[in-house]
Point group: C2
Chain length 419, copies 2
């Protein structure tokens, strides 16, 4: 495939087929009134092409405010394609092509980018995840089973020393992974350099006891050159993960981090609701995550089953699967899905079953910290739930002779109630 393909769900006051033509024009040669300079040869060489049009229904009022009025707003799916010669493997320019001005055209009253088909030539020219699942497992020392992590809470307000004390407790209790909250960056109240120095000391100390160094994802989100400075510092301190807020640093920012990161990149998608919650405008995660993986994200947040967020469970699982699927026909560039938000041992088996494997990281805040017997019991309960799942044993049955799991199931009963 030498063309980039994008599929959209649209609604249009001018009909799905005509809207497809308008979008193809807007997103390539830039006009569908042909100018004198726009020769047939130029169109053939450069224009976006409408590959498929499927009409699925119609509405009598527009889904979004729309300047063009009609009696009928036709709904359907369209697939467009572009020659790679226009943008090459430049991800920022690819994003401007597939997700640029089209969202505000008056010829659509709803538009969502559903999927992207990435040509192998682009996948080959992009770095992709540097560590992925295998590299992350190796750094964590977790050969199999779900990886169990947690988030430092309160998200902000703890001093660097308080954060380190908490991290030490968790590391000694056997956690695989700890992350900064996305609200905790490099502010004056808890500078990253202090936090990283103190946390790495306690993790190194804990590793003397446990034989395994917990992975800590330090939130390096900041201006580009600051992030590079943070990465150098983290490497010096022996840290094993860097976290970024994708929507804050941008696609080009992610690639800049990847190009100089000696560590796995834990990619937090806070703000994603803005991009995807509306059924009428936005980008579906399976499309966007391909660009983030091409730019180098190793771990990608996908929310979790029965989380505090509003995303339905089916969307969560589709997102997690998409992160593991090959990015193009011949290039895997696989990343690690991260389940988080309201996660407890109840969600371990459903998550593994829905995903079809246990190559995931499950981050639990309250699900570990609020265990009645403390964080060590909270972590043990997650491992027991994973063991039950691996052995095909019902989690309640398994809990009969695993008291930490039993206590967690009682405490968090009812957490997985929605479908």
């Amino acid at each position: 495939m030498t063309r980039l393909q994008a599929t959209y769900e649209i609604e249009s006051p001018v009909g799905v087929a005509r809207a497809a033509g308008v979008i193809a024009g807007e997103q390539s040669t830039g006009t569908f009134i042909r100018l004198a300079s726009e020769t047939d040869d130029l169109r053939t060489r450069s224009a976006a092409r409408v590959e498929a049009v499927e009409v699925t229904g119609a509405a009598d009022h527009p889904a979004l405010p729309c300047r063009l009025a009609a009696d009928r707003y036709e709904q359907g799916r369209i697939t467009l394609s572009w020659p790679v010669e226009t943008f090459g493997p430049s991800l920022p320019n690819i994003l401007a092509t597939v997700a640029g001005n089209l969202f505000e055209l008056a010829e659509v009253s709803a538009i969502r980018l559903l999927s992207l088909d990435i040509p192998d030539s682009i996948a080959a020219a992009c770095p992709g995840p540097q560590f992925g699942v295998a590299g992350t497992r190796a750094l964590m020392g977790v050969a199999s089973g779900p990886m169990i992590g947690t988030i430092v809470k309160p998200s902000v307000g703890l001093s660097a020393q308080e954060t380190a004390t908490l991290a030490g407790d968790l590391a000694r209790a056997g956690i695989d992974f700890i992350k900064d909250d996305e609200l905790q960056g490099n502010g004056p109240a808890c500078p990253l350099s202090d936090r990283a120095r103190l946390v790495m000391q306690v993790l190194d100390d804990a590793a003397q006891v446990t034989g395994r160094k917990a992975m800590y994802a330090f939130n390096i989100t900041d201006e580009i050159t600051d992030m590079w400075r943070h990465l150098e510092m983290l490497e010096r301190l022996g840290a094993s993960c860097a976290m970024v807020s994708l929507n804050s640093i941008g696609l080009a920012g992610l690639r800049a981090v990847r190009d100089r990161s000696p560590l796995p990149i834990h990619a937090h998608r806070n703000g994603w609701g803005l991009m995807s919650r509306s059924p009428h405008i936005g980008i579906a995660f399976p499309a966007m995550q391909k660009l983030w993986r091409l730019a180098g994200a190793d771990h990608l947040h996908v929310n979790g089953l029965a989380s505090k967020f509003t995303e339905p469970d089916a969307v969560v699982i589709e997102a997690a699967r998409s992160v593991q699927a090959p990015v193009s026909v011949d290039h895997a560039h696989g990343a690690l899905p991260v389940f988080s938000s309201g996660q407890t041992p109840w969600q371990v088996a459903p998550s593994a079953q829905a995903l079809g494997n246990d190559d995931f990281l499950m981050c639990a805040g309250g699900g570990i910290m609020s265990h009645p017997d403390g964080p060590a019991a909270g972590i043990a309960a997650f491992r027991q739930a994973a063991a039950a799942q691996a052995q095909g044993v019902n989690v309640r049955t398994y809990a009969a002779d695993h008291p930490e799991l039993a206590a967690a199931l009682d405490t968090f009963e009812g957490a997985v109630t929605r479908g």
Copy 2:
């Protein structure tokens, strides 16, 4: 003001006041179940504060899909504030704070960020626009009146030489400003280095004739280090403007460009529809443009009156005014609003009147290229429309003895029909 303030329009299944508390918790200490480590002192120091709650109405069904169901979805406005000590002047971390996980909370069935109040300490620590209106006017040699620009069309498909030929014609015809399309980056079909070299040659040649060098905004959108390389090349060639796609390079990418740019930054907001078209989720432009100006955007696109896009004219004008307003109480950091899309001489007077001044750049593609007597007449017609507006003369009256303007008004009659 030592706190950052954000105002949101929300709808909630749990009531506006309760939702405000949940958002404040999620976007600061991270939990509204208080943990043992969350002392009163910590909350006072670090928590987001609900500053104002106003209930404006209610609906019997949720605006967006929402996991929490209710009989009544209360609507209103809320204002939250954060202590700057949490994030300092780091714009990416500020964005994660005011536009992060809140969009997907189940406690809101609609949420839009309407406005931001920036503390002076943050405005002082950010670079802001390097050139703004005055610097841009000086580089263009346009002391007063609206600046008249155009876009190279077809957007893609022209070779570097074809682009330069077109740019030369426009420069000799007296245009103030020319820009690459946002679809034209640095692809193999028209590499930026070839395009810039050939275009700058013809602009220099044209300046020998006209006495004024047209400003050309080269689209440098690309990975960070590539953009820095492009900036160096542009400076060597004597170019006077660099364009970026804001949503492709991200807020941190924009700042990285600003930090190394010797040229004004022409900031294109393609993809903005995704962020703002839905009335139920997103960010209003007056909020987002403050962050882009703080990071260094000199020119900001705001669509245009009666454009091909679906944004209502009132939103366009509010956006243009916001770009000129001070970014904080004591810091102007003013930028140049750019009207574009479907602009003709008909829109000159209404734009100037609605804005209250003529410190704007009006970009017209077809409005110049499709003038029946050619691009030079197209440019002349815009200048005549601006002269009429400056003298307070009706544009039709003024056209009586200005044939270029008369022809343009006839050709584009009906362009400004919507309110």
